[in-house]
Symmetry: C2
Amino acid sequence: MKFCSACGAQTEYRIPEDDNRPRHICTQCNTIHYQNPNIVAGTIPVHEDKVLLCRRAIEPRHGYWTLPAGFMENQETTTEAAMRETWEEAEARVNIDGLYAVLNVPQIDQVHMFFRATIIDGMFGVGVESLETRLFSEQEIPWSELAFPTIKKTLQLFFEERRLGAFSVHVMDIVRSPR
Amino acid sequence: MKFCSACGAQTEYRIPEDDNRPRHICTQCNTIHYQNPNIVAGTIPVHEDKVLLCRRAIEPRHGYWTLPAGFMENQETTTEAAMRETWEEAEARVNIDGLYAVLNVPQIDQVHMFFRATIIDGMFGVGVESLETRLFSEQEIPWSELAFPTIKKTLQLFFEERRLGAFSVHVMDIVRSPR
């Protein structure tokens, strides 16, 4: 941020009074422009014993497999965002079965939230941000071709707990590089 | 947003190509400025059978009681944010016992996340954003003087489940006005 989005004047990066970390502050109107982490919301869309993955048609990680997920928008709830992304990327309507994983990715200022979900009528398609979509059994998951560490971690836990017969809710930190 | 934070030129509010909702877009450098919900992270700080609340020294809801919570910062995790806010508002160090509630507040573009927590050594103080802090038993909670619906809902569930002897994780929507 170089310019104030309220008045167009230049900003400077300094610690405001009564604060303890630097912010972008307008040199003219003194507006403080806070920057905060973004939520990425998605689902683990299940049909029978399989999980629906999407092969990415966009960067980053073009060509790699992901769970349907994307940036939560203003005026939505986390579940609405997860369901919308599942429709946009995989053309699947889902019922949400519960929150499953909250993954902190502090090095890129993101929090990823995945919900367990059941695909309605087992129907899905290929959204514009996907090259293809496919149902995978646990044995078929392309582990070496997954797009992000958050996807790998979420799927590992999901299959492990499914074998044990009980899902819990996980809060995890992804501390290494996300790619 | 009226001006581009990258180049200082005026922005316009329109739907970009390949998108389906309006964004602030720079009329000169074409940067698209996305706006997304913010996370508010906090704790339910417990000592013996009591919960620590803070009476707010700041607006909104000056003088009303709240759980310690505040905006998550870049480069932190949700649990780090919750612990930092608990220190800043109530000068309590806590151990996190688990995620408890995710409350969607879409009308103000926020997601509130509360963690169950235990106050280390039962020690606490009064942070600069608090008028006072105090441990409350369930019977003592000032229900009519709580600052926000998310606080009331979280405390109601917490005490109800504590009586039942089992905590789960809750995802809820707060759909009415937040104040």
